[in-house]
């Protein structure tokens, strides 16, 4: 289903069977491209736009933009591990801003799920520009699997061992 990467965020959502809304979503609007959906980590590229600036004096990107990207990547790394489509909701997100990102460079965002419980999934994310060993921001995300009216597919699965 995903052997022709890179694909746009909108195409990814469509192929994942996620219902479209009245707005394509912030990630699609930012021009996010899915470059890898490998089990060991998802990688997305987002091209620079002037609206991303946070501090015009230092000419660096806004921290909130980085949180949006990290929340999205932490989230889809969990969605990709769900055995059946379901909604998830961020429970906890922690971001460390390691360095500022100068305007003009593409952003690479990675996300990896490192634990799926029955109710909760845990993931990590990072943002870098050119060098993966020099991240600008890193995140830890915790997500509830399933939401009101859209329960966790893992909660109803007998196959899962005891976990969160």
């Amino acid at each position: 289903m995903f052997d022709d990467l890179p694909i746009t965020w909108a195409e990814f959502r469509c192929r994942s069977g996620r219902a479209p809304g009245p707005h394509p979503g912030i990630m699609a609007e930012l021009g996010a491209m899915i470059e890898s959906l490998a089990p060991e980590g998802i990688r997305v590229r987002v091209p620079y736009q002037p609206l991303m600036i946070g501090d015009t004096g230092r000419n660096v990107l806004h921290s909130g933009l980085l949180m949006i990207l990290l929340d999205s990547l932490c989230g889809i790394s969990i969605i990709q591990k769900l055995p059946a489509p379901a909604s998830i909701a961020t429970l906890d997100l922690r971001v460390d801003y390691l360095r500022a990102i100068s305007a003009g460079l593409d952003l690479i965002i990675t996300g990896v799920c490192y634990k799926m419980g029955r109710n909760v999934g845990f993931s990590r994310g990072a943002i870098y520009t050119t060098d993966p060993s020099d991240p600008a921001a890193i995140a830890n995300g915790t997500f509830m699997l399933g939401t009101a009216g859209d329960p966790s597919p893992l909660l109803t699965s007998e196959a899962q061992g005891q976990s969160a």
Binding site: H23, D55, H62, L65, M67, S72, D92, D150
Partner: protein, 162 residues
């Protein structure tokens, strides 16, 4: 695809020494999202007017977790800048830079306007620690809360003070 921000955004440093209501206009990304900050009798009140752009899950529907995070950080920033504006404040006066943020998502954030206030836990010569809380209809029922650390001075002259 997306509208450009103001052609000539105000200089952030000028706003830091001025009226808090102009702060978000000086931050292109926050301006693009339409956030506002103002002062009232209780302090600084921030608003994130609803728009479809803010939706992360169109099925529920619910606001994007990153939008909630952005609004919490912006609210925390506004309160720090407002405190820095006090000419008598003995604290770092540089434009605050984010160090880290930890967010608790407490309730679903629905497709409606969101409001935020923040409390400064400590504002020193180098570091500001702030707790921000946001809600939608009832301030007693917050949808999310954040603990934010900002650097408010970075020069060597202040390296030993805070």
């Amino acid at each position: 695809m997306s509208q450009p921000p103001n052609q000539t955004p105000p200089n952030l440093q000028d706003v830091v020494t001025g009226d808090i209501s102009g702060l978000f206009d000086a931050i292109p990304f926050v301006h693009w999202l339409g956030l506002t900050a103002s002062r009232d009798a209780e302090g600084v009140l921030c608003v994130m007017p609803f728009s479809q752009r803010l939706i992360g899950n169109p099925v529920l529907p619910a606001l994007h977790g990153g939008m909630v995070a952005t609004f919490l950080e912006a609210t925390a920033l506004a309160v720090v800048v407002d405190a820095q504006n006090d000419p008598d404040a003995r604290c770092g006066k540089e434009i605050p830079r984010m160090i880290s943020t930890t967010i608790d998502y407490i309730r679903p954030a629905g497709p409606k306007d969101t409001y935020g206030r923040a409390e400064i836990i400590r504002l020193g010569t180098r570091l500001a620690t702030v707790v921000a809380t946001i809600w939608q209809e009832d301030p007693a029922r917050p949808v999310a809360r954040a603990n934010c650390h900002f650097l408010v001075a970075s020069g060597a002259s202040s390296a030993s003070k805070s």
